[in-house]
Symmetry: C3
Amino acid sequence: MKMIMAVVQDKDSGKLASALVKAGYRATKLASTGGFLKAGNTTFMIGTENDKVEDVFRIIRENCKIRDQLVTPVSPVGGTTDSYIPFPVEVQVGGAAVFVIPVERFEHY
Amino acid sequence: MKMIMAVVQDKDSGKLASALVKAGYRATKLASTGGFLKAGNTTFMIGTENDKVEDVFRIIRENCKIRDQLVTPVSPVGGTTDSYIPFPVEVQVGGAAVFVIPVERFEHY
Amino acid sequence: MKMIMAVVQDKDSGKLASALVKAGYRATKLASTGGFLKAGNTTFMIGTENDKVEDVFRIIRENCKIRDQLVTPVSPVGGTTDSYIPFPVEVQVGGAAVFVIPVERFEHY
Ligand code: NI
Ligand code: NI
Ligand code: NI
């Protein structure tokens, strides 16, 4: 038995939760902030059998891929706004920090 | 030293917290949602000596038992409401998922 | 690789977060309540290499020291308020409960 702790971006957490449930894994989401990833994040605590760890990593990789996203800033960072023409910029989103922790005993009632 | 991570239903968490404090254990509650248990849940992080693990499990079992509860739905799931006579239905509440994790070092200041 | 779980008082958490980031550590804050420490608290989850554990403990000790603080109660605990002269009392604040947990595998994307 292992406990997988995965810190992912908030924007990926709904998709990851659905994928884990669909694949039959049981996960708990802990409210968390900052640190491992720049934006708001969520920590998943997933209890799983040893031989399923690889599969959980696959699901996390597929649902929390780092990718570039086009974002259109709503206003200029400085200066006057009258000559401002908004144009999209690329930002990197996604990613995950994943820890596997040994579980010495597991019980559920 | 062990770290016990216990995911329990929100409705059992106050009772469990009191029982743990009364028995002299130190626990931290982490805000958590979904997954191991259907309803809203709370994750307890309990640091304890090895020879107390059994006692902590007993306290969790006693305070988070799975039991049936009568719930009266406030409205019919579908159809018209004029012929609706509310009657209580049994739902299963309670339960806990409990993980014991090794602690290699513990310090408190 | 280790996972350090540190429960600290809310009032020390901003300072600790800054110090960890400045020293190059990656930490996630979990919303938590009660238990190990009397006041509101925050749980830091810090993933680090084995040879950095001592340094993380030092940073926690420096930023979460137990110290006395003068607090002026806003109202008397009982009795009438007309003869009440508020005067500051010393309360102990700060402190931390720190757990080192083994990590069998760590990946980040
Ligand atoms: Ni079962
Ligand atoms: Ni002590
Ligand atoms: Ni890297």
